[in-house]
Amino acid sequence: MDKMLNVALPTGRLGEKVYGMFEAAGFECPSIKENNRKLIFENPEKGVRYFWVKPSDVAIYVERGAADVGVAGKDILLEYRPEIYELLDLKIGKCRMAVAAKSDFRDDPNRTLKVATKFSNIALDYYTSLGRDIDVIHLNGSIEIAPILGLSDVIVDIVETGTTLKENKLEVIETIVPISARLIANKAGFKFKNAMIQAVMNGLAKQTEESK
């Protein structure tokens, strides 16, 4: 088990795309394409083992060494600040972290701004950098309805196409940071499986260069 490179992939469409990139880099694992409910797949010939985990958990698996490398969104890395190496921007899963509000929203700097978000640390960092006092309301989903119901003044959330915002009569008022999927590595794993991690990195980097 020890010699294999353990790779944590995020479940969902992004994960499938990421696996495609690993395959093109020469680290294929045909069994992963079988239609079953297994979560762990390995190809001993290539020395690689993949497992599907919840996207927000990838960084935890990597930080704690259960996975040597993984692919996580920059949003998760900014929010949880795991102790890992961020080796490559895969330039897929692109979206942005943004502040959105009702179209008639007027910012009153005399008042503490109420911000509803799933990403409390990102929101705090952003408003601290502006010197703005905020009241963070941590929500776990359906963030968009918070301003509509008067729970918050604005929301800080991931915006991909903006359709959900539009349907809820919200609009982006500020982009905080662009987001995309990143290749991350465990710090100790990087030392002890360096040759293989470098090979994965080079194989993936080639593809991101080509897609430029």
Partner: protein, 363 residues
């Protein structure tokens, strides 16, 4: 110590081994009180791994803290004397917030400090001891070495703004090339220096391959020469676990020169951390130079295999066995391993089960 091999945990065994190693190099044990005035930590908050400290008010009204760190106490309590070197090692518990659980934890830490006229030989000695410490803990270890002199010269030469430097330094720690290049582009850093930053982030590994790349960079020549001579001396001393890695970036407000971090296979985070902290000494009003490191022994639990059995033998007795017969049978069986005498069949895990009468027949 062989006699106690089965009794000691991996962290206890390591602590004994490391103390013996440091003693053999002439380091003296340093014992200190569990408490220190809180003021010391408030003034040097950023030097600590975590700035949360357990405090209490002493009977005389002074605000005290349970030590979150050992180095600060050693610096504070030492005296400068020209031409001398104070070499001490410690084995202490410190109290910090654990990152995973966000609650306070008692952490067993072994380490050493070398304070005084620290020359290149002293640095070599401390690096050797760091590498040897890791080897004692595991057959597979890596000592990552960096030189903050090289890093700061590259950053100074790049012309980055203070904010830009801080961000690039964070990216260097994350090996985040794309992030650093974005800042360089934004701040218009010229090709030569953005290439140097790229070199620092991407070069990692065996000094034999990394050093020529660093030489070709042409920046930080004096620091690089020091790094090269230390690496050469370590190799000549039979240490082959050194890797060059500029992602080791201890806080540059306190550390300078050589900094390092140690990893062993099976533990996901660094288990040893250290470096030269002349800047910290100056901040605390000391004139001497200093270098040291700490080994985080609490992490060793992760290497320890859990035992398969609770006890080797269960000795079953009933009303027909006298206490002296049970005691005699137990004593005989103890020669072969751990034994527990029970009246009823146990729920614990054991290798063999034997009655007192069967044991008497064996004896």
């Amino acid at each position: 110590m062989d006699r106690y091999d089965n009794v000691l945990n991996s962290d206890e065994k390591a602590a004994f081994g490391l103390r013996d190693l440091y003693r053999s190099y002439g380091y003296r044990p340093y014992k200190m009180s569990k408490f220190e005035e809180y003021d010391l930590y408030v003034r040097n908050k950023d030097f600590l791994v975590s700035d949360n400290v357990i405090t209490f008010t002493d009977t005389n009204g002074r605000l005290m803290a349970l030590k979150p760190d050992v180095t600060l106490s050693i610096i504070k309590n030492g005296k400068d004397a020209a031409g001398t070197v104070e070499k001490v090692y410690y084995n202490e518990n410190v109290y910090r917030i654990s990152k995973g659980t966000h609650s306070y934890k008692e952490i067993m830490q072994v380490g050493l400090e070398c304070i005084g006229d620290v020359d290149d030989y002293r640095i070599l000695e401390v690096l050797t001891l760091a590498a040897e410490s890791l080897k004692q803990i595991s057959d597979e270890s890596v000592l990552d070495l960096s030189h903050l002199g090289i890093v700061s010269e590259v950053l100074e030469a790049s012309g980055l703004s203070d904010g830009g430097k801080k961000e690039v330094l964070t990216f260097l720690g994350e090996k985040n090339l794309h992030g650093a290049m974005e800042i360089c582009e934004k701040e218009g850093v010229c090709g030569e220096f953005s290439d140097a930053i790229k070199t620092l982030i991407t070069t990692y590994g065996d000094p034999r391959t990394v050093l020529p790349v660093l030489r070709s960079m042409g920046i930080g020549k004096k620091s690089l020469a020091q790094l090269e001579s230390l690496v050469l001396a370590l190799t000549e001393g039979g240490i082959d676990t050194v890797r060059i890695d500029f992602s080791v970036i201890n806080d540059m407000r306190y550390y300078n020169g050589i900094v390092f971090r140690g990893f062993v296979k099976g533990i996901p985070t660094g288990i040893l951390s250290g470096g030269q902290y002349d800047k910290m000494m100056k901040k605390l009003g000391r004139k001497s130079r200093a270098i040291g490191f700490a080994v985080y022994l609490d992490l060793l639990q992760q290497l320890q295999n859990s035992e398969e059995y609770d006890v080797d033998t269960v000795l079953l007795y009933d009303d027909t066995d006298t206490p002296s017969q049970i005691a005699a049978a137990l004593k005989t069986l103890q020669k072969t391993g751990t034994v527990t005498a029970l009246r009823n069949p146990p729920s614990l895990k054991y290798k063999s089960l034997i009655t007192v009468k069967e044991a008497a027949n064996l004896g």
